[in-house]
Amino acid sequence: MDYIQPYLMLSSILFSMGIYAVITRKNAVAILMGIELILNACNINFVTFNRFGNFATLDGHVFTMFVIVLAAAEAAVALAIIINLFKNIGTVDVDQAKEMKG
């Protein structure tokens, strides 16, 4: 496929889906999944632009690498927090975590 638009369309769809997931899902893990979707959408964009943009070097790819690495670290930490959350209040439902209510 030699057009840039389909790739960008795909990444934007994924991105919106991720946002939707993060906002509507009450379960913390589902939110995590949403975040992973968003990150993937970004990676697609990076790589697409690297192909179609006039980059001599493969900067896009390096960035994607970094994103993936970070996603992994972030997932790990997130899950640790979720588990602790689970231990403290017995559920992962985001609505119950209201201690910060103003």
Binding site: M1, Y3, I4, Q5, P6, L8, M9, L10, S12, I13, L14, F15, S16, M17, I19, Y20, A21, I23, T24, R25, K26, V29, A30, L32, M33, G34, E36, L37, N43, I44, V47, T48, N50, R51, F52, G53, T57, L58, D59, G60, H61, V62, M65, F66, I68, V69, L70, A72, A73, E74, A75, A76, V77, L79, A80, I83, N84, L85, F86, V92
Partner: protein, 168 residues
């Protein structure tokens, strides 16, 4: 309409797969189903990378995302649910505003995609991108490379600290 060439068909199929599984992730009430559909999404994306001549990225995608993060998520799912209710449900709330806004965002992005004149010069496919990435990682991006490694280390320690049993 001329017979679309095979590459396009495959690409469209892949896009359909990705979008469908992403949709499943987002909307399925059952958490496990969404976790599994996440798997398919990741595989779809790896295929797309191939299309974008990013073979090494596709490989890391498969290894890290599918192998690492997905497994982690499934662990998370399993650990954070009570045994008794088998179906690990995940209720959602305020869908309408969420849908509305993500829809608007989508439209905006589409608008942006179609209205900007991308300067497109379709670089030729490289045989293998690993060499270049390596050079870049240890050349221009040496500092971020080192910082990421420290980050990973701290994440590791942090996760370990968080999930150990309270001694006292």
């Amino acid at each position: 309409m001329p017979i679309p060439d095979l590459g396009i068909l495959l690409f469209l199929g892949l896009c359909g797969l990705i979008v469908g599984s992403a949709f499943m992730v987002v909307t399925s009430p059952n958490l496990v189903h969404s976790a599994v559909s996440l798997l398919f999404t990741f595989f779809g994306i790896a295929a797309i990378y191939i299309y974008l001549y990013a073979d090494f990225i596709a490989a890391t995608q498969v290894v890290v995302y599918v192998g690492g993060i997905l497994v982690l998520i499934i662990f998370g799912v399993m650990l954070t649910n009570k045994i008794e209710n088998a179906t690990i449900t995940s209720k959602t709330h305020n869908q309408i505003p969420g849908a509305l806004f993500s829809g608007i965002l989508l439209l905006l992005q589409f608008y942006a995609i179609f209205n900007t004149k991308w300067l497109v010069n379709d670089n030729p496919e490289k045989s293998s991108t690993v060499m270049d990435i390596g050079e870049l990682l240890l050349g221009k991006y040496l500092l971020p490379f080192e910082v990421v490694s420290i980050l990973l280390l701290s994440a590791l320690i942090g996760a370990a600290m968080l999930s150990r049993k309270k001694v006292d």
